[in-house]
């Protein structure tokens, strides 16, 4: 339970951790580092396999806001369990995927989605990997060009004799 509580003391450490993660995130952009086992509820699987697979996909695309790098499918926090129950009930009531995502973003904001909609303020999130890739490409091309102009190690420079 205490994982939900907030106090000012761990903030600095958390900020440092996030900075470190940011650096790691830039390095390994897009790679999912941890594959956690899905959280277990007291509920049985949904009877309809189509509903069950939608349930699994939707809950894996919603962020648990308590432990912010886990999805609500993976998290064992109570809020995640409450949100899973919500998704379940909405699916059984015949809600569309869009309606479920809208329900969540109306309450928690776009941050609740691991795949935020493409709009002006999220442009940098969607654009960053391509910018990184382009930057990396430019650097590689420059380095390779520079090196290809240098003499090979075993080549005796002309006029050395």
């Amino acid at each position: 339970m205490s994982g939900l509580a907030r106090g000012p003391s761990p903030r600095r450490a958390a900020a440092l951790g996030v900075a470190a993660l940011c650096v790691l995130g830039v390095v390994g952009s897009g790679a999912r580092v941890v594959e956690a086992a899905p959280a277990v509820d007291e509920y049985d699987q949904l009877e309809d396999p189509a509903l069950q697979s939608r349930f699994e996909r939707i809950t894996s695309e919603l962020r648990c806001l308590v432990c912010q790098n886990e999805s609500i499918a993976d998290s064992n926090v109570e809020l995640a369990a409450d949100l899973r129950r919500q998704v379940r009930e909405m699916l059984l009531a015949g809600a569309s995927d869009d309606a479920i995502f809208r329900f969540m973003t109306d309450r928690y904001g776009d941050f609740v989605r691991f795949r935020p909609p493409l709009e002006t303020k999220t442009l940098i999130i969607w654009g960053a990997p391509f910018i990184m890739l382009a930057l990396g490409g430019i650097i590689i091309v420059r380095v390779v060009r520079q090196r290809s102009r240098m003499p090979l190690d075993d080549e005796v420079p002309r006029g050395a004799n």
Binding site: M1, S2, L4, A5, R6, G7, P8, R11, R12, A14, A15, L16, V18, A19, C22, L65, V66, Q68, E78, L79, D82, L83, Q86, T105, D106, R107, Y108, G109, F111
Partner: protein
């Protein structure tokens, strides 16, 4: 030339990133609430202290009020409790409590022992009201105006400073705007 410009630009970019990212005053867990400016979600729950009584925010329409989300399991709520008591003494606005993910006995005992700053405390047994309000932890404190719109959300323990700097100006603005 590039040999100098590139590392320096990279350094400045990182410095700016860290200046924001490592700022100790910034709460990295505080997310902007999409509820700001929107009608406050309605709730009708039982009162923690009296299960036969109903606490509903529909009856608060027309007045500015504060909704404070707490639970006995939350250490930071204990930390802010003193301040909530002091605020309730000022009698500026009614404070409504939303007891979240809690047990009734424990909540009753908490209020008896530490004092009760709330006009009424709604008991959110299954967390549905909390989901409607976009609660993702405790304590969280919302300010609702006379039109029933959420004006402000504070994520962290309440302090005297936060109350006077973030809440009081908004309360008087809300009163000027919609009395």
């Amino acid at each position: 030339m590039w040999k100098f410009i590139l590392p320096i630009t990279a350094f400045i970019a990182l410095a700016i990133l860290f200046a924001f990212g490592l700022n100790p005053n910034r709460d990295i867990h505080a997310l902007p609430s999409p509820l700001i400016g929107k009608p406050a979600p309605q709730f009708s729950l039982t009162d923690v202290l009296d299960p036969t009584r109903t606490v509903s925010n529909a009856s608060l329409k027309g007045q500015v009020y504060v909704l404070n989300v707490w639970g006995t399991w939350c250490a930071a709520c204990r930390q802010e409790h003193e301040e909530l008591l002091a605020i309730s003494q000022q009698r500026v606005v009614p404070i409504i409590g939303l007891d979240y993910m809690d047990e009734r006995d424990k909540a009753m005992q908490w209020l008896k022992q530490l004092g009760n700053p709330y006009q009424a405390v709604a008991f959110d047994t299954d967390g549905r009201t909390a989901i409607d309000w976009g609660v993702y932890g405790a304590p969280e404190t919302y300010l609702v105006d006379a039109h029933g719109r959420v004006v402000f959300k504070w994520i962290s323990p309440m302090t005297a400073e936060v109350w006077s700097q973030e809440f009081l100006p908004r309360i008087s603005a809300a009163r000027r705007g919609g009395a």
